[in-house]
Symmetry: C2
Subunit: 146 residues, 2 copies
DNA sequence: CTTGACCCTGGAGCTAGCTCTAGGGTTTAT
DNA sequence: ATAAACCCTAGAGCTAGCTCCAGGGTCAAG
């Protein structure tokens, strides 16, 4: 099949396919007389592999490594594959942890601010960012300082 | 103070400061006769503001917006500031959600694979990526198919 | 008076994953 | 026969946030 048919199957762009080729992820198994890329069913399945790996978070570099295994399965063990999955899981855990730190810090800022129509001159969020102290929610009975 | 002193205070690079200047985040309040950037205490505090905002996850673009408020507090309300914080919180929650979807999908792959010294020809992870079906953990009594 | 640390500008390069442009050839339908 | 739709290559451009380089000026110590 030509590139246009291939991309219709998966909803990706022609440019993306050509980019993947440059990245050594997927090459057409043949060319037409006019130089058009021709993809076999195996090529199409390979694209499916790439897109599914992408959909679980693997980078193109990591997918390249997975394809190395896929292309020569007999030379590898289950452990090799599982390792890559577990490494990625750890990687993602770390990213989540960083985002959760951001979230916690933002939540503290958020709680310290009344969010009302008061002038921002008194806003606890700005104060905290200026001074580098964690925002202090009001502890006494007056209204929020924000 | 000159740029070198400023960067020592915060542990950032000279290039970063000059980059922030190009990005309209921080300009030196004066220049020496020789053209050296000279930073006031207010400038230094502004850098602190920028770095703290960065440390809670704001992008430079978002920090630019925060600085617009910071530079003219009287013209803004607490609600304006709090909105930005809450938007960022939502943004981060979405990023976390996406990462957690990746994580769940990877965990399923992980569970389906024995991870042992068996040849990857039978690996359930590769099979799942080839076929686009969720990896099926073994349900019967034989050892994992992986 | 020279050495080394510091500062300047302008612009290129880096990562990741595309996306787009220019300029052209091919195929298909009417 | 011609127009639309498709395909090709090479290379530039995009986002984000720096980082580095070339080539040169300034400043303080010994």
């Amino acid at each position: 099949m030509k590139i246009g048919e291939l991309v219709k199957q998966y909803g990706v762009s022609v440019d993306t396919i050509r980019f993947y080729e440059k990245q050594q992820l997927l090459s057409p198994s043949a060319r037409s007389d006019a130089g058009y890329r021709l993809y076999s069913n195996a090529d199409s399945q390979r694209l499916g592999f790439i897109l599914r790996a992408k959909s679980v978070g693997f980078s193109l570099q990591q997918i390249r490594e997975l394809l190395l295994i896929e292309d020569n399965k007999a030379a590898w063990q289950c452990a090799d594959v599982k390792d890559k999955v577990q490494l990625k899981m750890q990687d993602i855990r770390q990213q989540i942890a960083e985002l959760e730190q951001f979230y916690q810090a933002l939540a503290k800022l958020d709680q310290a601010c009344c969010g009302g129509a008061l002038s921002a001159t008194e806003c606890s969020i700005l104060t905290a960012l200026e001074q580098g102290k964690p925002a202090q929610p009001e502890t006494h009975q007056e209204e929020a300082s924000c």
